[in-house]
């Protein structure tokens, strides 16, 4: 009897599997058509990605452009470069010459054909900008001696020294390829206009409202994009963003939502929502101004980092905001991240918080900082994760006898405030597009524009160069650990709080999009499609 039942069940399962298989396959097969509506929580200050630093530019505008290389849109770690406008490439044995072959038949939206002159002109603008023209990532290409275009389909980069991160750096989502002829006429043309080789052409931009793009019928990757078009809605406050997804007026927001917002959406929409989560190459740090007393004293800086119970903070703050991991100078879980055992040896990372706080109090006393010492902590006026982390930091410092007042500075005025050095202690932040020490740690070099605490440390500078030129990954790891110990422990130039946690709850109809540890990646939308 039991055997008969078992046979029937097996047969029924088989029949069901045969019947359902084509449906499932059909659901996984990209479907053409539809408009992807998504929310952008920021606005583009200009249309030129070479000089901008906000995702408010990348999210609505990346679909209009192509880059030489890109990060594999289906790879979750976001660290594998693949060709975009470059079809193939070679690296010379000495690591000083990178040669790229461009795809044939790639056209700009105005109909002009892409040649190596366009790639050279774009990279010249990024690496060697004319005086008065801003290029935000120029410093990360210090190793480049020249960009050449020996023939219409070849681009060559000659380096001054070998740099292990160079190839990944060319997959930067910011390095859009512009038309050489246009740049020659007016190098600022792209600040207010759009003309790329990307999968979508520009339709309209209504400031403060929306951005619209439509399918590029001449896109080089035949069959793509799948979408007929897209519409980016600019919504800065988080409650209306959630409402837009919840009310199915938008499908997705590519930056991320907080855990309670995710839960709201999941509870409201159930299977209509798919949640993708990942570590995030973003971290909040605390900059302490080295020219302002008592923060010029490394004992005080060390005391501030010793006061933080990062493990307890991680456990609890991850329930209310977009932070999660305790880590050193690299995203936890990535190749150059600090192993937990080594991390615990750094100031403020030990598991005995009482001992750490006792040491912090002792250091403050030695430095002549009285109990109840008051200072102002400046924070960026953005809810997540800045506000909760600010409240947490103040509570942690209160426990070593410090009386800290928080002052929020409006987001657009925050960077200028940091650059002016108009603070004693302030929230610093960094978000990278690829987890790579060269790109992530350049900010700590004494001469860097992003060294807001204004430390001057020849040892840090030397260690940075040494790790960048180390060919052996194990050797590089060792140097990075020395760099980290110097930065976070011995000198306590800066303190890391918690690494972010990227949570994307999106409408389940959105397919072909994979989360990565960066909200700057995977925004070309060529692989994205909408299911029925």
């Amino acid at each position: 009897m039991h055997r008969r039942i078992a046979h029937v069940v097996t047969l029924a399962t088989l029949i069901l599997a045969v019947a359902v298989a084509p449906v499932a396959a059909q659901q996984d097969k990209p479907r053409s058509g539809g408009e992807l509506v998504f929310v952008v929580p920021s606005q583009p200050p200009s249309y030129d990605a070479h000089q901008e630093e906000t995702f408010g530019v990348i999210h609505p505008m990346a679909p209009h452009y192509g880059t030489l290389l890109r990060v594999d849109p289906f790879e979750k770690t976001g660290t594998k470069p693949v060709g975009d406008l470059a079809e193939s490439w070679t690296i010379s044995k000495d690591g000083l010459t990178y040669t790229f072959k461009l795809r044939k038949g790639v056209k700009f939206h105005d109909g002009a054909e892409l040649t190596s002159k366009d790639a050279k002109a774009s990279y010249d603008k990024i690496i060697f900008p004319p005086a008065g023209l801003k290029s935000s990532r120029k410093a990360t290409y210090a190793s480049v001696e020249a960009v050449e275009a020996p023939d219409p389909s070849t681009v060559r980069f000659r380096l001054k020294w070998p740099e292990s991160s160079f190839l990944l750096n060319l997959a930067s989502p910011w390095n859009w390829i512009y038309r050489a002829e246009t740049l020659a006429k007016d190098i600022r043309w792209y600040e207010k206009n759009v003309n790329g080789t990307g999968p979508f052409t520009f339709v309209e931009h209504v400031k403060g409202s929306h951005w619209v793009g439509k399918k590029n019928a001449n896109y080089w990757d035949k069959g793509k994009p799948y979408l007929d078009g897209y519409r980016a809605l600019f919504i800065s406050a988080s409650a209306p963003q959630v409402a837009a997804i919840r009310g199915e007026r938008a499908f997705i927001q590519f930056r991320g939502f907080s855990p309670p917002e995710r839960d709201q959406l999941v509870n409201a929409l159930g299977p209509k929502i798919t949640v993708q989560q990942s570590g995030w190459d973003c971290v909040l740090m605390v900059a302490m101004h080295h020219d302002k007393k008592p923060f010029s004293d490394k004992r005080v800086r060390r005391a501030l980092t010793l006061a933080l119970d990062r493990y307890e903070g991680s456990k609890n703050l991850s329930r209310i905001t977009i932070v999660r991991d305790v880590g050193g100078v690299q995203v936890p879980g990535t190749p150059y991240a600090t192993p937990p055992a080594e991390l615990e040896k750094l100031a403020g990372y030990g598991k005995d918080i009482n001992a750490a706080r006792a040491e912090a109090k002792k250091l403050l006393k030695e430095a002549g900082v009285p109990d109840g010492f008051a200072f102002t902590f400046k924070n960026r006026g953005i809810p997540h994760p800045y506000e909760p982390i600010g409240v947490w930091l103040i509570d942690q410092w209160r426990q070593i006898g410090l009386n800290v007042k928080q002052e929020f500075v409006e987001a657009s005025a925050y960077h200028p405030m940091l650059k002016r050095g108009d603070f004693e202690v302030a929230m610093d932040f960094a978000c990278g597009f690829i987890v790579e020490p060269d790109l992530d740690l350049f900010r700590f070099v004494s001469t860097s524009d992003a060294n807001y605490g204004k430390h001057k440390d020849a040892v840090i500078d030397e260690l940075y160069v040494k790790q960048a030129r180390a060919a052996d990954p194990e050797e590089r790891k060792k140097i990075l650990r020395q760099f980290e110990k110097r930065l976070l422990d011995e000198e306590a130039h800066i303190m890391y709080t918690l690494w972010w946690n990227r949570i994307i709850p999106h409408n389940s109809r959105v397919k072909g999009w994979t989360i990565t540890p960066s909200h700057y990646l995977n925004n070309q939308l060529d692989t994205v499609w909408l299911s029925e």
Binding site: Q264, R319, I394, D395, K405, Q406, F408
Partner: protein, 300 residues
């Protein structure tokens, strides 16, 4: 004979002791204006709570306690805890201090400056009055919250700046009302007499005109108090007022209160109730005070 003085003495004892002016006014007010008295009682309660916050609050309002985060109201935390495990009741108690400090500061300064400008304009009349009134018109053309928002954005969001930002929009509103009362006082014979006697403008304004506009001044003051508390809460809710981790009612309504509205409704309910109750109390008291002080509205 011996009995008479004793009887007379007893009669004296039974006669109610004469009330002082203030006390009798308070008793009369409570008897005739029950709602106003109720409002006053809430205000007194708020003042008491704000003054003795250190003794009344069961917990430190800024201390994080992740072990108790988002706890529902219970014996340990009567009004629950927020997303940092901070006790909502303690934050409400300390928040009353912020609300009253900003409320009283802004409304007293706003109403006083408005009264001075209103009386000054009415007394001097002519070009001075014309210029003052046009300036007031400019300020009045902006909605209260918009003007306060702009001022906070310019000045920065410290408590003294918040008081200034809320006070400035109140000045023209008070000046307008006081001026209309002062215009009729200016025509009074005693003002003419003071002028004829050669008194200085300052003396006439301070001694003879300002005391006679005290009734509208007090009414405006109480009306502004409720508005100022509401405005402070609105600015804090918008992130332009008092900053975390300080306790303020409007601040308690933003952030986690919105995000956890479905799972932890106490985060929004209690601060919301506190704001409503405070504004309601000040409005009730203000209305009753107006009825009591305005002879046209006095009812017997």
């Amino acid at each position: 004979m011996a009995m008479n003085p004793t009887v007379e003495h007893a009669a004296e004892i039974e006669r109610p002791a004469p009330r002082s002016g203030v006390r009798s006014a308070i008793v009369d007010f409570c008897r005739r204006r029950t709602l106003g008295a109720l409002g006053a009682a809430v205000i007194v309660l708020m003042l008491t709570v704000a003054t003795f916050a250190e003794f009344l609050a069961p917990y430190d309002p800024v201390a994080n306690n992740f072990g108790a985060m988002l706890s529902a109201p219970s014996r340990g935390h009567w009004l629950g805890t927020d997303s940092f495990g901070r006790d909502v009741l303690s934050r409400l108690i300390y928040g009353s201090r912020t609300a009253l400090m900003v409320g009283f500061g802004a409304s007293v300064l706003g109403a006083t400056l408005g009264a001075i400008l209103g009386v000054g304009g009415a007394y001097f009349a002519g070009k001075i009055d014309l210029v003052l009134q046009r300036i007031m018109d400019i300020f009045l053309s902006f909605p209260l919250i918009i003007l306060a928002l702009a001022l906070v954005a310019i000045l920065g969001n410290t408590i003294p700046n918040l008081i200034i930002a809320i006070m400035i929009p109140m000045i023209p509103r008070c000046a307008l009302v006081i001026r209309s009362s002062a215009l009729s006082i200016r025509e009074m014979p005693y003002v003419d007499a003071a002028r004829a006697a050669g008194f200085s403008h300052a003396r006439i304004i301070m001694r003879h005109m300002l005391p006679n506009v005290m009734a509208p001044y007090l009414i405006m003051l109480t009306a502004f108090l409720g508005q100022a508390i509401l405005l402070e809460a609105s600015l804090s809710f918008l992130g332009l007022g008092v900053q975390e981790p300080l306790a303020a009612w409007g601040l308690m309504l933003r952030g986690a209160a919105v995000e956890f509205a479905e799972t932890a409704p106490w985060l929004a309910i209690f601060p919301g109730l506190a704001i409503s109750l405070a504004v309601f109390a000040f409005n009730l008291f203000g209305d009753s005070l107006r009825d009591a002080l305005d002879p046209r509205l006095r009812t017997q």
